[in-house]
Amino acid sequence: MTNEARATRRALLQAALAAPVLAACGGVSTSGTGGAGSVNFLSTQFTPVEERQRFEKILADKVTSAKVGYNPVDNATFATTLRTQVEAGKVQVNLVGGLHGDLAPLGDKLMDLDDLAGSLTDRGFAADLIELGKLGGTTAKYIPWMQATYMMAVNKKALQWLPSGADVQKLTYDQFLSWMTAAKAGNGGKPVFGLGAGPKGLYHRFFQGFLLPSFTGGQITTFRSADAVTAWEYMKELWAQTAPASTNYDFVQEPLQRGEVLVGFDHVARLATAPKDKPDEWLMVPAPSGPKGLGYMLVIAGLGIPKGAPDADKAKEVIRTLTTPPVQTEVLRQNAFFPVVKGDLPGDLPAAIGLEAKAVAAQQSASNAIVSLPPVGLGSKDGEVSQIFKDTFKAICLDGKAVKATLDAQATKLNAILDEAKVACWKPDPAGSPCRAA
């Protein structure tokens, strides 16, 4: 062995011996906090690097009551962490934030927040949102935090194929299909429409909250109706005009940015970077309308406190700060999530977000709007119900199975899940118990 090798071996041995000694402190903080008295904020939102950095800055600037350590994780880790900590009775997380669908399965792990909700009446939360926050029970489990919806981003290049007489801001589904058909033909046979149908994509929301309500007026009760057959026949035709690579898209802003597709449907936060650099080249437009109206879905994020969490008062103070109008506007400005509190949006929003804000307003104020909520009270079955819609899409559009037979088969599965859950219907289905496909 050479001297050199001997030297590295010695260095290695020293490093190996030093490691456990170094580790004696149990680790170095990676969230900027962890000390006593700070608030551990576990969240499923703002996981992308830049969004996280911007939100951490908002926390540092605006939250003066306590130091907040922000820990964004994926939803599985979120659920596991919360569940084990509450079950073991050793809660270290003070504050949790997530989408309605993330929080819904964990309702029994969250503290009742009626007192806090009672002191926040001046925020002017919509009644629907407060109801959602009860997770099907009678007490507030989370406080509304932010909201969003889905819409379409349109690169102006695609407008050249828009059928005459169609208004891009007020499309019908039929006009949209003929537009996309003309666009594919005009683009040398390459489809220009992209849908987030990848493993992390939110395409099921397109069926649940947009396509089906627009065609059938419902989501669950009308699952296998004649109107639903029409809707899925439509979807099959639309899919033929859609980029097949959509099954790999998680965030539609990426193919839009690359110019791979020119028109995309997705969550506003997943479209935001597409028009960012050149807002002049883009339009953000409301979803199309169908025979029954303009179906659209709300996305709600909420803030909750785990049962048995230490320093609950500090966490409540943070919730209070995060629901003040200035902080809500700042979150919109930085991270494209819309306020849940009453108040006018400022005029000086970044261009891309200004585009989105207009489309959001148009969608909500449309005379034929049909609002859908994410499933209410399904708890841990939320994902399985969404999977039914994904499976239906796969069977009909990807595998080319017959529409009616597929809907019948999937309706049986859907009802099996719903019969177990025994919940009342949520919008747009008429409230009635128990909810199931007719």
Partner: protein, 265 residues
């Protein structure tokens, strides 16, 4: 002494693994019941996932072992720059499956490096990963996995080859054995313990991988472990996830047992 010696040596690992794994294993596995197993079997993704997993292992592992053994033999012939070659061949070992999925996605995606290179040669690109082209989709996963996981086999084979005394091989050469004869009669038999271990580990790890396939194909090419994650994380149904995990566990142990028997020295 004959019995207590080895027991004393393996005791720490036994205690360690029992404390950390056996207990949560029992606690975790008692969750799945008959209804969950039926649910798993009825799921539209289960059988395709089982088929894809089996197919991937059957295609990948022989290719991978052939490549790894060839690589080790090439190095054994002491080419120039062998140190550099060795280093580059081993680096994929250090790359997490997430990062590996990322880079191969960048290669095979519609507007990726492969189609970019083709377009510079004025060849029309191809949708390698489209669900409409299951063959290229599968091949892309095989190539990516070959790249990512062959290093493990290669390193085990190299480590095993170190202890084969060169004089055996040289003696055989003196007696006129050609290269293939020496390979089959001298080198490979000596490598058997290493190959056995590599085979067991790789099969088990292959049953456990899904991140690369998921990055490349989404759920168009489901694999069993990917389905476990899907049920656990997305569908939030730990019971069905556990049922699939049990299938994987059973197949892994069966395979390991088979290898231990078949390659007994």
């Amino acid at each position: 002494m004959k019995l207590r010696g080895p027991l004393l040596l393996i005791a720490p690992s036994l205690i360690f693994l029992t404390a950390l794994f056996a207990w949560p294993l029992v606690a975790g596995l008692s969750q799945a019941n008959g209804a969950d197993i039926r649910r798993m079997l009825d799921d539209a993704y289960f059988w395709p996932a089982a088929r894809n997993t089996a197919l991937l292992i059957v295609v990948l592992i022989p290719l991978q072992f052939a490549l790894a053994i060839a690589m080790a033999l090439l190095l054994r012939a002491r080419p120039r720059f062998a140190g550099v070659y060795f280093y580059i061949w081993v680096i994929p070992l250090a790359i997490s499956d997430l990062a590996a999925g990322l880079v191969w996605l960048a290669v095979f995606t519609d507007r990726g490096y492969l189609n970019s290179a083709l377009s510079q040669l004025h060849i029309e690109g191809y949708a390698w990963l489209s669900y409409q082209h299951p063959v290229t989709m599968f091949l892309a996963v095989v190539v990516a996995e070959l790249w990512r996981s062959t290093s493990l086999v290669f390193v085990i084979v190299v480590a095993g080859m170190q202890s084969i005394p060169r004089d055996y091989d040289e003696a055989a050469a003196v007696f006129g054995a050609n290269y293939w004869q020496r390979l089959r009669k001298v080198i490979l038999p000596q490598l058997r313990p290493s190959l056995q271990v590599a085979l067991i580990l790789r099969t088990i790890l292959a049953l456990e991988t899904f991140a690369v396939a998921q990055a490349l194909t989404g759920r168009n090419m489901p694999l069993l472990v990917g389905e476990t994650y899907q049920w656990y994380a997305v569908l939030q149904n730990p019971n069905v996830a556990t049922a699939i995990a049990l299938v994987i566990l059973a197949v892994s142990l069966l395979a390991a047992f088979g290898y231990l028997r078949a390659l007994r020295s």
